[in-house]
Point group: C2
Chain length 424, copies 2
């Protein structure tokens, strides 16, 4: 489809979106057993088709050199038998979860005898725009279909062959288990204009989930006529309180910053209470230094931490996604909360403290999707929090906040049973 005239591209997008809408109508009426049969068949087929998928993955890896991808990008792109097995197991884990659709969320009987049920239903059609990790293809399709939604997958072009091979497996499994073939569709063009066309089709597409750089997400939000689940950045903080266990604080800061660079729940900023700064700053400075992390701090940080650079105002707003951390000394818990709410991105922020009153004030005062007490920011993740697989993390307050899994891809309807009940 590359390089086709724009009206053909638009017609292609409308066709994909319409097919998804029709498939969504069918999916909403399936039983959990049917959806789980598809998930288990898909898992088995991914194992069977591993050689074919890996061969397609090789095409992407060869092309990656030409695209000038970095080592970490190539690593995310690369599939292996072990990664295929992980992908298959992830589908089986989703199959083992209860079916959210049809679940009675609330029920009450009115004094008149009227029975009121609030019943979970799918949203409809999800457009998922994501980066170059091929395993995300299978995960996202599984989460969407199990929650009764059709999905349109728009993957990174770096993973085009791998994603196409995986989607073929999922579609074949759909045919074998009686699911509509259009329940999972992969956009087959790398043309950026296709995204714009889909974002205008709010009569067919109910929700967009973009994952990737801030530029992409801002473009999607500006253009989309349908709701978007997203976070722009993850400028996450760890605040070490006056009454913190400094041993624990050290472990938490190192884990939050260093366990994995370049992901949204990694800590990008460290706040330290003034009363313990003289003790804790040199200590954490040495440990982070050994991990190869550059420190950018205020005057006191620069005085006490060897090698620290002066932070600018901009540093406190920055999600580095790399081996840098901003550090600031704060006079009080209140200053820490105000700093986080002002400079942060409402994603994930942690306090290290032994004081109950400090934990309560921090969890109430910090306006973020997840607020951690004596726990690493890296734990804000659907799997880690026990919600099952996630398709993204939201920093919005409307509809879904924090990790978004199957439940966040659903709506509800009221089903009301009477025996001739009238409005008086």
């Amino acid at each position: 489809m590359m390089g086709v005239p724009d009206h053909d591209l638009e017609a292609y997008c409308i066709d994909v979106a319409r097919r998804a809408r029709v498939a969504a109508g069918e999916l909403g009426g399936l039983t959990g057993a049917q959806k789980d049969a598809w998930l288990r068949r898909s898992a088995a087929a991914l194992r069977e088709q591993t050689p074919r998928v890996l061969a397609e993955n090789q095409k992407d890896l060869s092309a990656a050199r030409g695209l000038g991808l970095g080592a970490s990008q190539v690593d995310r792109l690369e599939l292996s038998p072990a990664r295929m097995e992980e992908m298959a197991r992830a589908l089986e884990e989703i199959a083992a979860l209860p079916d959210p659709i049809g679940q009675v969320i609330e029920a009450r009987v009115r004094p008149s005898g009227l029975e009121v049920l609030k019943v979970r239903v799918p949203l409809g059609v999800v457009l998922f725009i994501y980066e170059s990790r091929p395993n995300v293809t299978a995960d996202a399709a599984a989460i969407c279909l199990k929650s009764g939604n059709a999905v349109i997958l728009r993957g990174g072009k770096e993973a085009a062959h791998s994603s196409a091979a995986i989607v073929q497996v999922l579609q074949d499994a759909a045919a074998e288990t009686g699911l509509p073939g259009d329940a999972v569709q992969l956009v087959s063009t790398a043309d950026r204009a296709a995204v714009s066309h889909f974002l205008a089709l709010d009569q067919y597409v109910d929700l967009v989930i973009p994952r990737g750089g801030e530029g992409l997400i801002r473009r999607v939000v500006a253009e989309a006529r349908m709701p978007v689940i997203k976070h722009y950045t993850g400028n996450c903080h760890v605040y070490v309180d006056r009454d913190a266990d400094l041993e624990m604080a050290e472990r938490l800061v190192v884990n939050a910053k260093c366990q994995r660079l370049g992901v949204c729940n990694t800590a990008e900023s460290l706040l330290v209470h003034a009363d313990i700064a003289a003790v804790f700053l040199p200590r954490i400075g040495r440990v982070l230094g050994r991990q190869g992390i550059e420190i950018r701090g205020d005057a006191e940080v620069c005085r006490t931490v060897a090698g620290a650079q002066a932070a600018t105002e901009e540093d406190y707003r920055t999600e580095y996604l790399g081996p840098i951390i901003s550090v600031k000394v704060v006079a009080s818990l209140e200053e820490a909360i105000a700093h986080i709410n002002h400079y942060g991105s409402h994603h994930t922020d942690a306090i290290v403290t032994d004081r109950l009153a400090a934990a309560r004030a921090f969890t109430r005062g910090v306006d973020s999707s997840a607020v951690m007490v004596n726990a690493s920011t890296r734990l804000n993740d659907g799997g880690q929090l026990g919600m099952g697989a996630e398709i993204g993390i939201s920093t919005d307050k409307f509809h879904a906040r924090g990790p978004c899994g199957m439940m966040e891809l659903t709506s509800y309807k009221y089903v009301v049973y009477g025996a001739g009940h009238l409005r008086e």
Copy 2:
């Protein structure tokens, strides 16, 4: 503020929105007892200030003649001691409900001992745009504040004096009970451009709820940069199944159509199964005729119902908001479901049937915010369904569907307690 230069109007709107944002920050931290004290003081003050509010209401009623309002509009505008008492009681009822904020929605302990709480929080600032019923002013403010949100009220200009008097009572009560004065603000200009300015201020306003005609709501959706809770129309159906109790069906159709014309959950269309059409159509035709309802129907309806007019395709899409109903004979339950999903507005639709399988198929197949079995469409209302006072009804699937009360004006955050928990 009428007729002021547009940059002054914009500055005024920004000032109102900023004040609301600051007030929202304070409201989120209040206890339920503080909010309930404000509600009870407001109720008492409405009783005490009844003469003053009624005097202001008289100014609106005098002006109403000049504006050429119809009798039903004047009726909605008019306050009386009894209506003031109802308004005060409604605030006391909201005070008696549990505080939604801080409620733990879900909680789990992970195998690692990590404690995960999902805690209810306010959305922030709500812009509420509504028609000329002054009692809505007090209701909306109460629902918003009890759920921890600041509210900007934009009422109809017909009720300007009445609303201003009521808001003054609520603001005085706020001052007396320690709530921020800017928690409830009334937009003091009738300039339509003010709405456009507010709809651009997504940095201050978190949600808009427009209530009124479809034109107003479409304009708000087109301009708003923040989420909107709304329904465009209520084209609600009653489907009388083959195995319906026709006695009950008659009562339900009459209640759904005639109990109150001109509201969103009134039935605008009647579908009748072909097998009972010959019996039921003449019967319901007579009853509706006696109620002064005009019938527009298909060929069979015109043949069997005296005085029925031929319906156009457009009739089946129309929310009459008046003494007209469209009527159609359908060959099957499936045709009824397909008709409702195609022509309806996903608001409220009812089946009358004795067959369990029909009830199950209808409640699953009809894609509406509320699906009623042997109950009147008029019962889709927050109070009737036992959810407490409502601020509107949503036909969207994202965030809130059906009647929206306090719970629908909230979000949540994850609060996670560890003891030095790391990501492995």
